[in-house]
């Protein structure tokens, strides 16, 4: 199917298809080699996020076959690429396959028409006698030939064209054979059959009398059987009629009862209607929704019963569609009918001032837990200091809460729900069940309490850190210094305290990574910690 049409591109002449294809093969070979060299050069970058596998030739040839298929040629290029990607081809392989397949015309129709014309013309060239009937026969073997010639070779144009020619010739030959050989045989056979029939007929006349007698006897027996059958069926009919009568009587009785019940229910409803206000009728819909939501609530405890409201979605993905909530289905149906749900309102969400300046950040960015891996000791220090730094007032925008002595940690810090207070840092450390990080430091970060930082000290601390650890990213230090500059003016007194603290910490072993997770304690507390750290 595919390969017979593709190797004969529109611009190659019919006179010498083989010569042209040979040239194209040669050129394409050279092109392929060049591309291969280029691809090899490209797959060298140092990043691990690049696919550095060599191109797989079998994948590329499969892709070429796929791309040569006429149906594929009619599809947008992006879907072809997507399909090949899903089959696991790399970008280079896909690009190579696209290069190998001659660029198709935008619409496949002219190409296919061209190719059909070429086929016909080639078959005419090949056959000597123009025959009408072999044409469709030739096309069919050509189709078979194409599937047969889907060989492992890359450039099979020669083979395909010659195969087409051969098969066309064979098709014509068989047609000729049929006409010349088989038809006379048919005639002979027909004559034979006719002669045999005549003979049989003569024989039959002799055997007639005995046959007639036998037939008569058989007929009598059949008549007797038929009469028996008729009697039996009559009896059955009678019984059925009786049953029907009884059934109808029963149905009548049931109808009577139904009517009675209907009348009773009507009367009940009337009574209800009198008892309640008339607004109930309008709230049916809400009640329905409320009841559906309450049934959903009842499923909440442990039972993952996905049959909340079995629904049918409009476009299910390939796997089983999860049951959508009933009101979801209602809304979908409303929209498909063209209605708009009534709860939508007009909202103007455009920015009032598109050039509005963003507010200055109050907190310097905090390094991520995975970034802080180099220097596990610093993690420990941070934990210790933060744990000690209790009972502080956080002064952040929006976080207006006070921590008093009793509830020393926010509830979300506590691993164990029973603990209402955290008495002891040691106790907390001991109950830490998890080995948090890949490094081997025992105290888990989780147990530490964190109190929201005051911006300036944090900024200064980070600046201090930047000073003592010059290998941290220059961008980070830049932002930190900037934010430090912004806020340093506001809190001069605390700055001096922090400077003192920083100098003290520099005396202890190693640089300190004090991330923005700090509270400013009383300086006395801090000094105690530093002393303890110095001892460790």
């Amino acid at each position: 199917m595919a390969t017979t049409q593709s190797p004969s591109p529109p611009n190659s002449n019919d006179d010498k298809p083989q010569a042209d294809s040979a040239e194209v093969v040669h050129e394409a070979n050279q092109v392929q080699q060049d591309v291969g060299a280029e691809a090899a050069k490209h797959s060298v970058p140092a990043s691990v996020f690049v696919n550095s596998e060599p191109m797989r030739e079998d994948q590329v040839s499969n892709a070429v076959k796929f791309l040569s298929h006429p149906k594929v040629r009619g599809s947008p290029v992006i879907y072809r690429r997507s399909f090949l990607e899903r089959k696991g081809l790399t970008k280079e392989e896909i690009d190579e396959a696209f290069r190998r397949v001659p660029d198709p015309t935008p619409s496949s129709q002219p190409a296919s028409l061209n190719q059909d014309g070429q086929e016909k013309s080639s078959s005419n060239v090949q056959t000597q006698a123009p025959i009408q009937t072999p044409q469709p026969v030739a096309v069919a073997p050509a189709g078979i030939a194409s599937s047969v010639t889907v060989a492992r070779r890359q450039f099979h144009w020669n083979h395909a064209v010659s195969a087409v020619g051969l098969l066309a010739a064979s098709g014509c030959g068989t047609a000729l054979l049929i006409k010349k050989v088989i038809i006379p045989k048919l005639k002979l056979w027909v004559r034979k059959v006719v002669l045999e029939e005549e003979n049989d007929y003569a024989k039959k006349i002799d055997a007639k009398p005995s046959l007639v007698e036998e037939a008569a006897a058989a007929a009598k027996a059949a008549a007797a059987a038929a009469s028996d059958v008729a009697k039996a069926s009559q009896e059955m009919l009678n019984s059925k009629n009786e049953e029907r009568r009884r059934f109808e009587e029963f149905m009548n009785l049931m109808d009577v009862q139904m009517q009675e019940m209907k009348s009773m229910s009507n009367s009940i409803r009337k009574l209800e209607g009198q008892a309640n206000s008339s607004g109930r009728a309008f709230s049916d819909h809400d009640d329905h929704r409320v009841s559906s939501s309450s049934t959903k609530q009842s499923y909440a405890n442990g039972k993952v019963d996905v049959n909340v409201q079995p629904g049918r979605s409009s476009t299910p993905p390939a796997s089983a569609e999860p049951p959508h909530p009933k009101s979801y289905m209602e809304i979908m149906e409303m929209i498909q009918r063209g209605e708009k749900p009534s709860n939508i309102r007009e909202v103007n969400d455009m920015p009032p001032n598109p050039n509005q300046q963003l507010s200055n950040p109050r907190i310097a960015p905090r390094t991520k837990p995975w970034e802080a891996q180099n220097g596990s000791r610093h993690q420990v220090l941070q934990s210790q200091t933060s744990a000690e730094g209790l009972n502080q007032n956080g002064r952040d925008n929006g976080l207006n809460y006070l921590l008093d002595d009793e509830s020393s940690t926010p509830w979300w810090q506590r691993k164990n729900v029973r603990i209402t207070e955290i008495e002891n840092e040691d106790e907390v450390k001991a109950t830490g069940p998890f080995g948090v990080r890949t490094n081997e430091q025992p105290p888990p970060l989780v147990q530490r309490t964190w109190v929201p930082p005051q911006p300036p000290p944090v900024a200064m601390l980070e600046a201090g850190e930047a000073i003592w650890r010059p290998k941290s990213a220059p961008k980070e230090t830049a932002t930190q210094e900037q934010s430090a500059d912004d806020q340093s003016a506001a809190h001069p007194s605390e700055v001096t305290d922090e400077l003192q603290r920083i100098t003290k910490m520099s005396e202890s072993a190693g640089a300190v990574e004090m991330n923005g997770g700090f509270s400013t304690g009383s300086s006395a507390v801090k000094q105690e910690q530093e002393n303890s750290y110095g001892e460790n």
Partner: protein, 317 residues
């Protein structure tokens, strides 16, 4: 454990990288099919299991995702179903918000991710098959990455390499990109069905998790992406979101249309280490706090936001 009720159906929840107790919630009316949206900024009260709303921003169309800025503590960006991205600043008075509306995508913006290492840029994933790179100070996108053949559902920056990110798409592939390169650097045909979410391992920058409609989560090593490192089965329906823990190397959390939130340890044979079925509708959003180890939040179409500590029952009070 506190619960926050939103008026609209929840779509996404994110912890703030600056404030331990702060979260942003993206919600959309009428399940996000058609209707308004709202972005909630909520705070956990320290004293008791209560959640207070700090501020809420209404939008004309549903909000599918929200992301906090890594450079400004009060700024967040929201992905809107009308193709725009709104930037909000909670430190400014409510009437000054939104600060920006970035409208370039032709279809719904479904995913956002802010760069956690360089902190200056963010990505948007859209149903118009493209991913765009933005910064807060520019009104137009810096780059557009258009290679996927179908909706891009999710995008995630690599936690170590500031230029590398991954995108998950309905064309059943995950693409790895480098912003310095014109096109994608790697294509991982991870699943036979749509891939709804992807996330990088924070401690091994070559591992990436993908969550798909085929109910499985696969962990891939980009150095050998033909075979997954691990396949996590256990969800009953499509997995909507997957997130690696910022504190533990092997832990990841996922939420699914089977209304559960599951915790996994992908290095262990029996990978499912926790399961919460507190939602009564599709669980569509889940997040782990970067600041507090073990603190997690989830939201679903049942209009509830739960915040709980790992190991506890989200519905416990």
């Amino acid at each position: 454990m506190p619960v926050f009720k939103t008026p609209f159906n929840g779509y996404s929840v994110r912890f703030s990288p600056f404030y331990e107790s702060r979260l942003a919630v993206a919600t959309a009316q009428n399940f996000g099919i058609l209707g308004n949206g709202r972005v909630h900024v909520i705070d956990l009260a320290p004293t008791g299991p209560v959640i207070n709303e700090l501020i809420a921003f209404d939008t004309a169309d549903g909000v599918y995702d929200v992301a906090w800025s890594e450079s400004h503590d009060s700024v967040l960006v929201a992905a809107i179903a009308d193709g725009s991205i709104k930037v909000y600043d909670t430190a400014l008075p409510p009437q000054s918000n939104p600060v920006r509306s970035l409208k370039e995508h032709a279809r719904e913006v479904h995913g956002l991710d802010y760069n956690p290492t360089r902190r200056d840029s963010f990505l948007s994933a859209s149903w118009d098959d493209s991913v765009k790179l933005w910064t807060l100070d520019r009104p137009v996108s810096l780059r557009t990455f258009r290679e996927h053949a179908y909706c891009v559902y999710s995008v995630a920056w690599n936690p170590k390499h500031a230029d590398v990110f991954a995108s998950a798409s309905g064309d059943c592939t995950v693409r790895i990109w480098d912003v310095r390169e014109p096109g994608s650097t790697m294509v991982i045909p991870g699943h036979e069905h749509e891939i709804l979410s992807c996330d990088w391992n924070k401690y091994d920058e070559c591992l990436i998790a993908t969550a798909s409609v085929d109910k499985s989560i696969k962990i891939w090593d980009v150095r050998n992406y033909r075979v997954p490192v691990s396949v996590l089965n256990g969800h009953g329906y499509a997995v909507k979101k997957v997130k690696f823990s910022p504190h533990r190397r092997n832990l990841l959390v996922s939420c699914s249309y089977d209304m559960t939130v599951c915790l996994w340890d992908f290095m262990v044979e029996d990978a499912l280490v926790g399961r919460h079925d507190h939602h009564t509708e599709f669980a569509v959003g889940v997040d782990l706090s970067v600041l507090v180890d073990g603190l997690m939040a989830s939201t679903g179409w049942d209009e509830l936001v739960y915040v709980w500590q790992q190991g506890m029952d989200p519905r416990a009070s």
